[in-house]
């Protein structure tokens, strides 16, 4: 099923609607009359907008995203070793920019705040003429910026966003996500947890009190309960919490023998550190070793938690130790340029930049509706995650999911996680309708 209007009939309808709306829309929402869509490139360059957290708690993750985007621009313009363009199954990209136009970029700082992220995206679209916005390290930001891009008539290629809502109830026709989501984490993790810890377990959830936390808790609960686990308690923790001792102390009293930390970033680092300090992992409850699970892992966060991550299961979108040709090519390009391996945030952002450029080349147009059509149901390989589908119904990528574990004997400061299993895509695929929401119609902005 397609919701795009990039058909003859659809274009006429979109044109009529956009034409009427153009009377009242602000300048940045209207494209030049001759081009038919927002910020149509007229010279020999095209501008992309990289909206990443350059300040605030995820600034390190944002810095890695920006490195990846700069590398992608270099490769798109024919520089460097070409990176993933060499292994990408689509051969539309030639290293001569996008549709022959040299790629330039502007950056914005999301600050991991929805309002700041919208303001920076708006500025890049309105003042800098960005034709596509990409990046971010938070689902709240992704949902907010995606909605703005929908209104503005530009494509949004999401960065690191894991909430089901981004391509679920808040999905938009102009938005696309390569990163995996909470549902997939739960579906991939549950069988591994059951085989390692048994099916008779009592879980205690600590959940970050915001959108991503809720969807992750729900996904892990549903998946583990289907395996036979019981959820004894689920407690929401404030996003601003730094000391989790008062939340962790009652865990053993509850009779739980597993603690699931639906936390990310600084929350994850602190709650995991506190849990280990309280000696939970040294305890025996219900005749079993007490265990901790972190559904979404990030290498940068694992670094913050230090030795506390050892032996703890979680999931991740990609890891630099993968040995497929795409991953090796990306690690080589990134590592040679920057001196250390890329994070999963860097990987998904780099891939999104290339996927957008490739879609433009295949569509033969920068028109966001044409690009969206090219991305929909696009199947590709060679980008580090195996065969991947950009599902047309919700603009979510479907690919294998990595279940990882904190490495017991790391050999370097980057060697923190080991891949336990690559869960096949068939096990994490779901019906597009289960999370509700409507894509709506593609908005070219003209």
């Amino acid at each position: 099923m397609s919701n795009s209007n990039f058909t003859r009939r659809g274009l006429i309808k979109t044109g009529a609607v956009a034409g009427a709306a153009g009377l009242s829309l602000p300048t940045y929402l209207r494209a030049d009359g001759h081009s038919g869509f927002t910020n149509a490139p007229t010279g020999d360059t095209v501008t992309l907008g990289f909206n990443v957290p350059q300040s605030g708690p995820y600034a390190d993750e944002g810095a890695d995203e920006l490195r990846a985007y700069e590398l992608a621009v270099e490769h798109l313009n024919g520089g460097g070793d070409g990176g993933l363009m060499n292994t990408f199954s689509s051969k539309a990209l030639q290293g001569n920019g996008i549709l022959g136009k040299k790629v330039e970029y502007v950056t914005g700082d999301t600050q991991t705040k929805s309002d700041a992220a919208r303001a920076s995206a708006r500025s890049m679209i309105e003042k800098d003429g960005a034709i596509m916005i990409t990046g971010g390290s938070s689902s709240g930001v992704a949902v907010a910026v995606q909605a703005l891009c929908q209104e503005a008539g530009v494509i949004f290629m999401a960065g690191l966003t894991h909430s089901n809502d981004t391509t679920g109830k808040d999905k938009k026709a102009n938005g696309f996500r390569h990163f995996f989501n909470s549902y997939m984490s739960g579906a991939a993790l549950a069988p591994i947890l059951a085989s390692n810890y048994g099916k008779d377990r009592k879980a205690y959830h600590l959940t970050a009190d915001y959108n991503w936390g809720y969807t992750t808790e729900e996904a892990v609960r549903t998946s583990t309960e289907a395996m036979g686990w019981e959820t004894v308690a689920a407690v929401k923790t404030p996003l601003t919490q730094t000391d989790f001792s008062s939340y962790i102390a009652p865990v053993l009293q509850s009779g739980a023998d597993v603690l699931v930390l639906n936390h990310y970033g600084g929350n994850m680092v602190n709650s995991l550190t506190n849990a280990v300090q309280f000696g939970l992992r040294d305890k025996q409850v219900n005749g079993k070793n007490f265990e901790i699970v972190v559904p979404l892992y990030s290498r940068l966060m694992a670094k913050g938690a230090g030795a506390n991550v050892k032996g703890i299961f979680g999931s991740t979108n990609w890891h630099w130790s993968l040995q497929d040709d795409g991953s090796k090519a990306f690690v080589k390009s990134f590592g040679t340029k920057y001196g250390f391996p890329p994070s999963q945030a860097a990987h998904t952002c780099y891939v999104q930049a290339l996927l957008y450029a490739d879609a433009v080349e295949r569509a033969g147009s920068f028109n966001p509706c044409a690009v969206g059509e090219a991305l929909k149901d696009f199947e590709f390989d060679g980008m580090g995650n195996g065969p991947t589908l950009y599902r047309g119904e919700d603009h979510q990528c479907f690919k294998d999911v990595l279940v990882v574990k904190g490495k017991e004997n790391p050999t370097s400061e980057f060697d923190l996680l080991e891949i336990v299993e690559i869960t096949p895509v068939s096990q994490v695929t779901y019906d597009a309708g289960i999370f509700g929401g409507e894509l709506g119609v593609c908005n070219p902005g003209a």
Binding site: D60, D243, N270, Q277, F278, W320
Partner: protein, 343 residues
């Protein structure tokens, strides 16, 4: 009962941090009359003193590991700390392991110097300005300090573990006759509580039993009269600013194993510490300590599952609720002195 004891214990270590920061805030306010919004940043800088010393002790040179390659396929290099070369591997590793307690020695002169520079370089120019100006300038200073730390150390938390001897937790449940594992408490948090008690005791003893402290207390009560007696009270107050900075810094040093330090940690404590100062009574040192522990324990109780079931979200507002109630019933706070912040 065991849940209550557990939350009291939890509240004590959180209260320790509040009390130490609020103690420094009150010292500065009581002596210099300055509302110092950069005090949380001093706590954060103290924590980064521990990070810095840990990194200095871990300064390394690379040695190739035979037969292994890195992520790019180049020969694997292993970092060997210089301290291993100097003291041998076992002693060197033990020194690095104890870097947090050792950081106390490193942090004291650093924090006193920073406090002195802050006071002489910036804050002294705002003594006679309204409190609103003081708040703005010290808040700005706090942001500058945390951005400097972020520039050099990054935005992510940096793990700074306690010595291996203090990992794990003490089973109070088994000792007190409850079921094992019902009241467990990390050793390092007990150390932190004891450390806070010692520092608080030392500050009070210093003020109570030394001539210097007596003059400072006299100056806090009546600055003009002490000045008329020919005593350079300003110089003593500057020294007190340095001592307050050192107290905040030491609180930060010892806090690093509890939560991995990041550049924002000072702000996380700052607002709550001000509430503690106000609840305790502006300018009252015992009030700051009492309110610190009281609010720490109350905050822990409010986070209990049973409490949250009845009053969802109470954990986020309990401190402010208590502050409102106390200020309505005792406008000067628990132990506030008449005339302070009332003119």
């Amino acid at each position: 009962m065991d849940a209550i004891i557990l939350q009291i214990l939890n509240g004590l270590d959180k209260g320790s941090a509040y009390a130490l920061i609020a103690l420094g805030l009150t010292l500065i306010f009581g002596t210099l009359g300055v509302v110092n919004f950069a005090h949380g940043a001093l706590f954060m800088i103290g924590a980064f003193c521990a990070v810095t010393l840990s990194r200095l002790l871990s300064l390394s040179h690379e040695v190739a590991v035979e037969g292994e390659v890195d992520f790019l396929g180049n020969p694997m290099m292993k970092d060997v700390p210089y301290i291993y070369d100097i003291f041998g591997e076992a002693t060197g590793a033990a020194i690095i392991d104890w870097s947090v307690p050792l950081s106390i020695l490193f942090a004291i002169p650093v924090m006193v110097a920073i406090g002195f520079i802050m006071e002489r370089g910036l804050i002294q120019h705002f003594y006679k300005r309204p409190h609103a100006d003081q708040i703005l300038v010290t808040f700005g200073l706090a942001i500058v300090l945390q951005e400097i730390i972020k520039y050099f150390y990054g935005a992510n938390p940096i793990p700074t573990p306690a010595p291996a001897a203090f990992t794990g937790s003490f089973d109070f449940g088994a000792v007190l006759g409850f079921d094992p594992n019902t009241i467990i408490y990390p050793y390092w948090r007990l150390v932190y509580f004891a450390f806070a008690a010692i520092i608080i005791g030392a500050v009070f003893a210093f003020l109570q039993f030394t001539t210097f402290g007596m003059v400072v207390r006299a100056g806090m009560a009546d600055r003009e009269t002490v000045g008329l007696l020919g005593i350079n009270i300003d110089k003593r107050f500057t020294i007190m600013f340095g001592i307050a900075a050192a107290v905040a810094g030491l609180a930060g040093v010892m806090y690093t194993p509890i939560n991995s330090p990041n550049y924002h940690m000072g702000m996380d404590f700052l607002v709550l510490s001000f509430v503690v100062v106000v609840v305790g009574g502006m300018g009252s040192l015992p009030g700051a300590v009492l309110a610190g522990f009281l609010l720490g324990v109350l905050e822990s109780f409010a986070s209990m599952g049973a409490v949250l079931e009845v009053l969802p979200g109470i954990n986020q507002i309990i401190i402010y609720l208590v502050a409102i109630v106390i200020l309505l019933t005792r406008p000067r706070g628990l132990m506030g002195r008449k005339g302070v912040m009332e003119e």
